[in-house]
Symmetry: D2
Subunit: 161 residues, 4 copies
């Protein structure tokens, strides 16, 4: 298979040109520190999970920050063992800038015990030195290592336009 | 004004009968204990606020419980000073039953410094002695008292069908 | 049972006073006209349903309007046969004012074939003669009549603060 | 700048290894046909937009389909002229399989009058020949061409795990 997939694109359905594969640029990395999780099958037919996010760190291009206490990953365990995740928490950068994070997607269990994820993140920031963080769409990867229920590692990649 | 409002109802638009005013039955009361809030105007044109929920208590008909650490109220401050709120957190009842709460609506500032709110809550529960909690729609009231940024009081009223 | 339920309220958990049962005032009635529905069990463990909203009418206190084509009720059928619903559509009032409606809650099947619902609605309106519609929280009732898959009747009740 | 961005990754914050740039594989292309849009500044401080989706086509690896009437893109126009978009609609594939699409992200205006977008899509499908479509996370690109308010072209790229 060719790396970019099958031979159809936007022009197949009438567009004058296709946009091609979206270029990605690494934007930041985050480690979310988790508190005790709750998970239970609900009477509404899903398996609800909640992973409190009690802290963590972040590193971007020229900045670093920490996760403020108080967010969580509100998740649903799917029938195949994967989790549909929606994490919401607030970063505070070194210069005091708050960055509200919403990061949602899926975490998929691997044969070696790890969970690997793919997400899309939205960052909300105030005007100022970091305002460009709020102008982008981010595609994320996520990793929970084998036998470590306390951390999730996330890399956010700017989907460059 | 008549207590039930203007003279139109479902029959005006073709229904065979109208459902009338929904009867409400008090279902539970919750006190959410808040950690330090963050609030800032984002570059996307809204004022984002996040109120961590660090604990709290709940009392229902024959049960009591506590709020587990790890939830938050993810809110937006509106131009008129009210907040559009969406609180998500997990209760643990005395018998160990987890109850996932999503409670969303609006908190409106009053002349005396209080905030009064109206919300709709969704409860997610496992099968067992409290499963009826998951079968209802709840209309909520909420109160933040003057000069008390640390607590929000919520009553949930079952909208009886 | 007393009409206002069990003997606990906000004061039980420390508030200086309780808000009591929220007063409701009828705000408007809507008939949503549905197109052909789709419903299927997904590989993610839920039953997804989509009810297109192809038109309809609305009547409020001193105004009337119609539902513009293009919205839908994005729903999930629950294990007990009820639907968790989230309807989004746009009204146009007689004077041209657009009103964006989000109305979400639950529709519950009855022994006689009807579905009865309870919801909370959010209305988004522009500044102008109808701006008060955007300032309220609405609790809704909903009715789908026996053997009529083409209409849902909704009454919205302002949860007065 | 190096193509993969700054010199930090998951290992910087403690992970044993980093996942690297997520590989993408073209999954499908969609053309959404739009009806008349509504857009207005709300009293809640945002600019609400709704783009009805009245039809369209889709082409994937070994399948084709059409968009059923009844969905919409529920969007917010941001202060910089971009749109935060959330499109929800249902595809029907040639063999009758329904595919519920939720595709959300941002559309950004360009100097030449086009809008370019980046999104994440979730597909909900029934068990059967297309069930793999429901197992993936998709990163999307989107294009609205200059002087064409009637079509949006979307390519979905599977974020391979």
């Amino acid at each position: 298979m060719k790396p970019d997939g099958p031979a159809f694109d936007m022009t197949t359905l009438g567009a004058g040109a296709s946009l091609g594969q979206p270029p990605l640029r690494k934007a930041c990395v985050i480690r979310a520190d988790l508190g005790p999780a709750r998970e239970f099958a609900t009477t509404q037919g899903i398996v609800r999970a909640m992973f409190p996010i009690v802290g963590g760190e972040a590193r971007g291009d020229g900045w670093s920050g920490r996760i403020l206490p108080g967010g969580a990953d509100f998740a649903v365990r799917l029938p195949d063992g994967a989790y549909a995740v929606e994490a919401r928490y607030c970063l505070e950068l070194e210069d005091g800038t708050p960055v509200m994070v919403t990061n949602a997607g899926r975490m998929v269990p691997q044969a070696d015990g790890r969970y690997l994820g793919r997400t899309r993140a939205l960052l909300e920031v105030p005007d100022g030195p970091h305002r460009h963080l709020g102008d982008a769409v981010y595609f994320g990867t996520a990793l929970a290592e084998t036998d470590d229920a306390d951390h999730v590692y996330i890399e956010l990649w700017e989907a460059v336009i």
